[in-house]
């Protein structure tokens, strides 16, 4: 990995041993339904944590709590070197900003800005939020787009791209912010099956480059290859978590076994 590699994660500013992110006791209800019942999650630096589980298990809500898109009723989220955000009180703008400065998100529905070109989508955050010089942000953006095979699409509008291409732009838009943590919310669920591979290849490459990521996914085979930790959730609780060799190959909990069986029997 060369020092100028555009895909390489930014250097870290806190001791290497501490986990990058620790979430504790995250609780969330929608109306009367308790969707998360005290979730704990630790994300060590350079690790890939995959959240898996049936629909409605709360995995996406956990992910969205990590950057404050969802505001839990209780629990804390703490980045190494950052504030502890305690959701017992309504988070302040500053606290939300501190979570969002350190992370970037890739969405299931891509959520590219349709009125901006691919390049404009990518440099929007660096230029408008991080106030980096436009020329520098543009050069970085072009290098990143090149790396994911979209160098020729810089001036296209999102509607001119396939779903797989749009999602790769979504990933590049996240990388351009040079975040410490990448959050992926079912990044391939909205894609046609033949387009899934290209996007997974990019994510796999990011994992080998040392990025820290939390990934909500239904792609269990993929998760077993890239993830350091698998977190299996059901009914708003973490049922079991550990390395893929345990959770996916030798699950302890009956609910995990049942879930994996149902998927493998298809």
């Amino acid at each position: 990995m060369s020092p100028t590699d555009p895909l390489a994660p930014a250097p870290l500013d806190a001791p290497i041993e501490a986990p990058l992110l620790v979430a504790r006791g995250i609780r969330k209800s929608f109306g009367d339904v308790e969707v998360l019942q005290s979730i704990d999650l630790t994300v060590p630096r350079g690790n890939v944590v995959a959240l898996i589980g049936p629909s409605g298990s709360g995995k996406t809500t956990v992910l969205r709590s990590l950057n404050g898109l969802e505001v839990p009723e209780a629990g804390t989220v703490e980045f190494a070197g950052g504030d502890v955000v305690d959701f017992a009180q309504r988070p302040t703008k500053r606290q939300l900003a501190s979570l969002r400065d350190r992370s970037a998100m890739v969405f299931q529905q891509f959520n590219l800005f349709p009125h901006r070109t691919v390049l404009e989508n990518v440099i929007e955050g660096p230029v408008q939020v991080q106030k980096r010089p436009k020329a520098e942000a543009t050069a970085d953006a072009r290098a990143l787009l090149e790396r994911v095979g979209l160098g020729a699409k810089a001036d296209a509008y999102p509607f001119e791209l396939s779903g797989g291409q749009q999602q790769r732009v979504g990933i590049v838009r996240a990388l351009a912010l040079k975040p410490q943590l990448l959050l992926f919310d079912e990044p391939t669920s909205a894609l046609d099956p033949e387009l899934v591979g290209d996007v997974l290849d990019v994510i796999r490459e990011l994992a080998t480059e040392g990025w820290t990521m939390v990934l909500v996914t239904h792609e269990l085979t993929f998760a077993s290859h890239v993830a350091d930790t698998i977190v299996f959730m059901d009914g708003g609780v973490v049922v079991e978590s550990g390395p893929p060799s345990e959770v996916l190959q030798n699950p302890r909990e009956p609910r995990t076994k049942q879930f994996l069986h149902r998927l493998l029997d298809r």
Binding site: L69, D101, N111, P114, H115, Q128, V129, Q130, Y157, P158
Partner: protein
């Protein structure tokens, strides 16, 4: 058609078009511009989570939509002087029309903002933008596309409604026609002439609307 009537139509054409150029059109443009600013403010208040703020916006919209524009105009021009506030004809007209556009266009803008998918707000937040930044750079440009057809309607209505200003002594298209008609006693001919000039203005506006829609369509799949 007798020759003197034809002659009258020709001679009245310049004053009537002059009334459009110096009265109707600037009155409509200025009121619409100010009205849009008011409308954006009211729309954002209406979307506020603070119930007092959205309540004020709701009441404003209700009053504007629930009372005749002519009455609003008369309250400002003929009503305010009785409590000691004198407003000249032109400012009265601009105040009344822009407040009126503000009420109608607020609902259009609110609906347009709500029509932008929630994921666009979230995408803005996750790249570190504030609410205001996301609104200005992500949401409003997309809402603008949606609101062009209904706002064009509002503008075309406004152009025609400016004829009401003739009743508070603003010299515009219709007042010119009225004065010439009263003088010449050729009411039918003059009012039809005025109607044709309004119609031509609105035809031009309609084609401007199509051009604008095409321009804003360049990033949308067809």
């Amino acid at each position: 058609m007798n020759e003197s009537l034809w002659d009258l139509l020709l001679r009245s054409f310049l004053p009537i078009v002059g009334g459009a150029v110096t009265g109707t059109i600037p009155l409509a443009l200025l009121s619409f511009a100010l009205g849009l600013v008011i409308a954006l403010g009211i729309a954002l208040m209406r979307l506020s989570r603070i119930s007092v703020v959205s309540g004020i916006a709701r009441v404003y919209i209700s009053i504007i939509r629930g009372t005749p524009l002519l009455v609003q105009l008369f309250v400002i021009f003929y009503g305010l002087p009785s409590i000691g506030i004198l407003v000249d004809p032109w400012p009265s007209a601009i105040i009344a029309f822009s407040l009126n556009v503000g009420g109608y266009a607020a609902e259009v803008i609110r609906a347009a903002i709500l029509s932008v998918p929630k994921g666009q707000w979230e995408a803005g937040y996750t790249i570190g933008m504030s609410r205001g930044q996301t609104l200005v750079r992500v949401i409003l440009p997309q809402a603008a596309r949606v609101s062009v057809p209904p706002l064009s309607n509002t503008f075309i209505s406004l152009v025609k409604d400016t004829s009401l200003a003739s009743l508070i002594l603003v010299t515009e298209l219709f007042r010119q026609a009225q004065e010439i008609a009263a003088f010449s006693q050729e009411f039918m001919a003059l009012y039809i002439e005025a109607a044709v000039v309004y119609w031509v203005i609105c035809l031009v506006l309609s084609s401007a609307q199509s051009v604008l829609e095409k321009r804003l369509d360049r990033y949308v799949a067809h």
